[in-house]
Subunit: 351 residues, 2 copies
């Protein structure tokens, strides 16, 4: 026998490129174009002064961060969970909640990590096709299942379902855990957090990576009933007691404390998105109705992959998915006004 | 059916306490009493100045850190892996390499996270008793198995096996992955890293948490054959693309670059350990031969748990494991000279 026979072989998720080229306009990973809250810089000064603290383990329960999140969301800490980006939170949730025989359901076009987690943890799953307009049809989920995952707003389509629709949808699935991935919710979606009081089987996840300009810190969070969060923490502390490092805890805290800055920058991104939408429509692009910090666009006369390559030649990186149904679309993150003006002018030349 | 039926229910690992009390002498989690390398402070200043970088995702491949580790260990990056503490590295390794039917073997007295990972991932396992002197008997592992995990030096016993012994041991187990957990190796153990060229089924793990005074950053690493590390990275990138946040990468790098400081502080800990050993022996303590930054001690006249409680009343925290065979032992981390002098003087009063 060879040791290789016992190896779990998987095909990993491939994230958007982090290019090392200077002066590139990076619109491929939905990062925020604005810096994190100024308090983050202040906290870095304090961390520098008191850097001896790094020799100690962080508090496993993530007190520093959970306490401000508890205040911010008006929820007890027993209904909060934090992890290394919402990827870590979602991965732990898949491991914790999808331990049955029936397939977990999620749309065929959605965040492409869901099937990777299902594969790595050996979870049966089934994708449910979106409609021709990339909409979720609730009735399609009325089949035997072991759980449901919905990104709302969805990615890479950017389309959001209203809270009322989500409420009705979750009410139909009380016997399995329903995960609502709200990575992009701050840019125009309606959060399901209020529904966790109504549905003890609902887990809502969010992230600091997009709206809080802190992708580099890796902070994600989840909200749910005490029971649900309790199970999730048991699994988390069975995998790693100290996932959140000290910089994440002390810097992440500052972001939560500065609500005015947060709102200001989210509003700026939304304003730029609406301007970009108008300009791209004038160039003949069709697109979904985005409630996120990206646009999902297609051009009737020009192949998406070709546009992507031409943009790259001009120093602008956008995301193209070589996948059925969406391979003639581009996902374009919203940058600063200047970056988007440059994008529009380069696209004018390409078309 | 209730959603709870599909939940993976686990009993998590309980790490040593991180008390919030001021002025405590903390000898319970094997942290280093000395600050991290001065370069870490300098890098924090740079991170403060350029804090805008935090809005971007870190490089998934951890380039900044892997590059210096590659130089330091003289190994190509394809033979290196980094994770969120060696807990993350080990957890990923359990998930990746122990995907068979036969039980994974590890000592009955060792790092108490091994059985927790086996439980959470549904891996069959069997503990192999150490001898009466807390030694590993190689022959006991000559039974059908799906993998082996050895902490060397072992914890909480502190006992190290020489490289030659390990070489012979691994040579007997070529058909399964053998993990050697070297969390404490820098304090007197002999590393198995050179053996990865000989055994493509050997994974060696280490950490920045003890000898590099960076428990607060959560950095661990693994070394192995290209094939082994390739499989491990596939699993890691199937769980989370960006586990290592930007502060971990840029600050961790500085620690690796300052070899003189590293050696100086490791030597200081060893010197203090030897002094403490002598003093505790004079107080009647028996102990194992520690090659780590802690001592594993017992007193023939006084109950360990009672000593632990009395020490706590005096503001000194040490670790006691309520477990068969070792419940009359204490694990005492090595602090500064001043802290250990205080410990000895308080123990004199207790006894």
């Amino acid at each position: 026998m060879s040791w290789e026979e016992n190896v779990r072989k998987t095909v990993p998720y491939v994230p958007g490129e982090q290019p090392k080229i200077e002066n590139i306009i990076k619109l491929n990973t939905n990062e925020n174009p604005y810096p994190p809250a100024p308090g983050v810089q202040k906290a870095l000064e304090e961390l520098k002064e008191g850097y001896d603290i790094l020799r100690k383990y962080p508090a496993p329960a993530c007190d520093i961060l959970e306490e401000v999140l508890s205040d911010y969301y008006g929820l007890p800490r027993e209904q909060l969970f934090v992890g290394v980006g919402s990827d870590d939170v979602l991965s732990m949730a898949f491991l914790a909640f999808f331990h049955g025989e029936k397939p977990v359901l999620f749309p065929d076009i959605t965040y492409s990590f869901y099937d990777v987690w299902a594969e790595v943890y050996g979870i049966p799953y089934k994708t449910v096709p979106l409609t021709g307009e990339f909409e979720i049809n609730a009735d399609d989920y009325d089949i035997p299942n072991g759980g449901i995952v919905i990104a709302n707003p969805n990615a890479p389509t950017g389309i959001a379902k209203p809270g009322e629709w989500m409420d009705e949808f979750i009410s139909r699935h009380r016997d399995v855990v329903v995960i609502v991935d709200e990575a992009y919710v701050d840019f125009g979606g309606e959060t399901c957090i209020p529904l966790i009081e109504k549905y003890d089987n609902l887990l809502v996840t969010q992230t600091f990576s997009k709206s809080r300009s802190l992708a580099g810190l890796r902070i994600g969070m989840a909200f749910g009933s005490r029971k649900l969060i309790g199970y999730l923490k048991d699994v988390k502390f069975s995998v790693n007691s100290y996932t959140m490092n000290t910089p994440s805890l002390v810097l992440g805290r500052e972001s939560v404390l500065d609500e005015a800055y947060f709102r200001e920058k989210v509003d700026a991104v939304i304003k730029t998105r609406e301007w970009t939408k108008k300009e791209l429509k004038e160039l003949g692009f069709t697109m979904t109705e985005s409630s996120t910090n990206f646009l999902f666009v297609s051009h009737p006369q020009k192949n998406a992959e070709e546009i992507m390559k031409r943009l790259r030649d001009e120093g602008i990186i956008v995301r193209h998915f070589k996948k059925p149904r969406i391979d003639n679309y581009l996902r374009i993150s919203i940058g600063t006004d200047e970056e988007m003006k440059k994008l529009v002018s380069v696209l004018k030349n390409i078309l």
